[in-house]
């Protein structure tokens, strides 16, 4: 059962391919796919609720959300497996809402890979070309190129059951990419791989996408995967897009409590608004605990605000820092989490906070239960989010 190392380590080294720059030219702003008010109902249940979305040419966009949020239904409508109940899907400006999957220049990498068990690897990859009546010579050439692209040279004659999970996945990519689709749809393609291989594949697929310049629409429930791979992320909840933006925007300035909580970890704190002055506002978390925050996302006349603070953005010090937004706290619990230490803090006797601090020394612990410390949070790191 031992396989040659070179077959397993595809993501780590690929001799036939030049290294790909981690970031490429700025993305085009042309629209490849547009969803206009797309709604999908199954019986009385609304899976997708009036979604508007513009997907740019050549971008890697991720639809991220918990299971049942409607992300897969959106993908299936893009593929043509489902027809929207209302609304339009435009592919390069053409309405394709009712066009069957076999007449769309869009291909999908399936979660289960769906490699045809009765066909060899080469025949699997050639399937789409055959259905499009590509002549035999060209078909063979393109199949070989595709095998090369995914570092499966010489695997053409193998049957799917002779391949490992990772290899099957590469066949699935080759089979979809060989058709040169306008858009490649990916339905949680890494969920069946173990953690190490998954991470390697994530980077490899991201590089592949940059190299080919094909628009990728990726569906996942794994927030880390989304952050690693995407140019933009659409966070989806209850059939609606909660927030759309670049990975860093979504992480650093979540728009809602849902997004803040779903992506990474967040302290969600409700605060009273004390006063607003121009671009900033003063809010009170508890007695004697006041913070200065950016007021741009605070609604007019509101007296309450919901704040999101990332745990690693809370700075812990022994001595009172000479900064604003600093307050005293007691360490209730300290949890070792490998690279980071998680500190459970209590502020003013009632407010609970979680902070992450780098785990710097292997020999001694910097923080102990019961320690009285100071927390400081930069104004930009306190994000006022919507309650949804």
């Amino acid at each position: 059962m031992s396989e040659p190392l070179s077959q397993l380590e595809w993501p780590f080294h690929s001799p036939t391919r030049p290294p790909v720059p981690a970031s490429s030219a700025p993305l085009s702003l042309e629209t490849m796919v547009e969803l206009r008010g797309v709604t999908k109902r199954f019986g009385t249940a609304t899976a997708v609720d009036a979604v508007d979305l513009q997907i740019r040419k050549g971008e890697f966009i991720t639809l991220l959300g918990p299971s049942g949020c409607g992300k897969t239904t959106i993908l299936r409508m893009l593929a043509g497996f489902e027809i929207p109940t209302s609304g339009q899907i435009l592919l390069e400006g053409q309405d394709v809402s009712g066009v069957p999957p076999y007449r769309r220049n869009v291909n999908q990498v399936f979660q289960s890979y769906a490699i045809f068990p009765h066909l060899s690897v080469a025949d699997n990859i050639a399937f789409g070309l055959k259905m499009r009546h590509v002549p035999r010579d060209e078909r063979e050439r393109r199949v070989n190129e595709a095998l090369d692209l995914v570092s499966l040279k010489g695997f053409g004659k193998r049957k799917p059951h002779e391949l490992s999970g990772g290899q099957r996945q590469r066949v699935a990519f080759a089979r979809a990419l060989v058709c040169q689709p306008k858009v490649l749809l990916l339905d949680e393609p890494f969920s069946a791989l173990d953690a190490k291989l998954r991470h390697a594949m994530q980077l490899e697929v991201k590089h592949l996408q940059r190299q080919l310049g094909i628009t990728f629409v990726f569906v996942t429930h794994d927030q880390e995967e989304a952050l690693i791979m995407s140019d933009r992320i659409a966070v989806i909840n209850h059939g609606k897009i909660d927030q759309l933006g670049e990975a860093t925007d979504i992480y650093h300035t979540p728009a809602s409590a849902f997004t803040a909580n779903f992506i990474g970890e967040a302290n969600l704190l409700s605060a009273d608004i004390v006063k607003k002055n121009g671009s900033s506002a003063q809010v009170r978390l508890a007695e004697d605990v006041e913070l200065t925050v950016r007021s741009s996302t605070i609604k007019e006349n509101s007296t309450q605000a919901l704040l999101s603070v990332r745990p690693e953005k809370i700075y812990i010090t022994r001595n009172k820092p000479m900064k604003e937004n600093a307050f005293k706290a007691v360490i209730e619990e300290e949890v070792f989490r490998g690279a980071m230490d998680e500190l459970r803090l209590k502020v003013a006797g009632k407010l609970e906070l979680m902070a992450m601090v780098a785990n710097e020394s292997a020999h001694e612990r910097a923080w102990h239960k019961g320690d009285i410390v100071y927390c400081a949070i930069h104004t930009d790191d306190v994000v006022v989010v919507e309650q949804r």
């Binding site: 076999y102 291909n107 399936f110 399937f127 059951h161 990772g166």
Partner: protein, 293 residues
Amino acid sequence: MTAIADPRTATASTRRSPGAAGWLLLSPMLFWLGLFVVAPTAILFVYSFCQRDELGQVVFEFTWENYARIADPVYLNILLRSLWYAGLTTTICLVVAYPVAYYIGRAPAQRRSWLLLLVMIPFWISFLLRTYAWISLLKAQGPVSALLQWAQLIAQPLEILYTPTAVMIGLVYTYLPFMILPIFTSAEKIDNSYIEASLDLGAGPWRTLAHVIIPLTKPGIFAGVLLVFVPSIGMFAVTDLMGGARVPMIGNVIQNQFGQARDWPFGAALGITFLVLFVIAFWFLHDRGEERR
């Protein structure tokens, strides 16, 4: 990295001889096979080389005569006709059963069990009763004839009973479930993503059927073809009852040797010849089936 093991390697490493306990556990099965399969076949084999006296008693004296008689054009014709009828039955069954089996296999779980029940219900009634039911349905004064005359589709009473058509109707009716069930089992197992992948790659519904669905249901098709073709060659009851014994099949001939003709050795020779033909046919089909996997 080797979490997903090659199934072939796995089978090879676990395949070994059964050992003492294994043989003990196998013994009821071996006993059963020996008593009901090997022994009767051996008796048949021995009889096929024997002679018979005037009263039809088997005389244990070696002869090739029984096998030589099979080459007689009379019997060869009957054999060819049987093959033709069985082939036609199998073809019609396949064409009729495939869409039905596929539909049942792809139906939602609850509806699936109801539909399967409908396929199975006829088995609860004796085969002979069902055949007699067909006879009274198809006879000239029967309801089918009356209905067709009432609808003015035919002028004369239906003259279908005791014709090859009636035999075909009987054979297809009898063996249809044996085609439906194995194909259903194959169709049920097809993961929907294979069909979607095919559509996604540009194959329309018909080409998806030809390039994905039929190849994936091949094991069921092979099983169904065997289950229909083999017994329908040897069938004698339907041909007797619905064909009025006017179109004798090889099954009727064999039955006759053990019955009225009282020529057991010749009947045994016919039976053994058939067995050999079936084994050859099965190997052929089986190998092709393996190749396709």
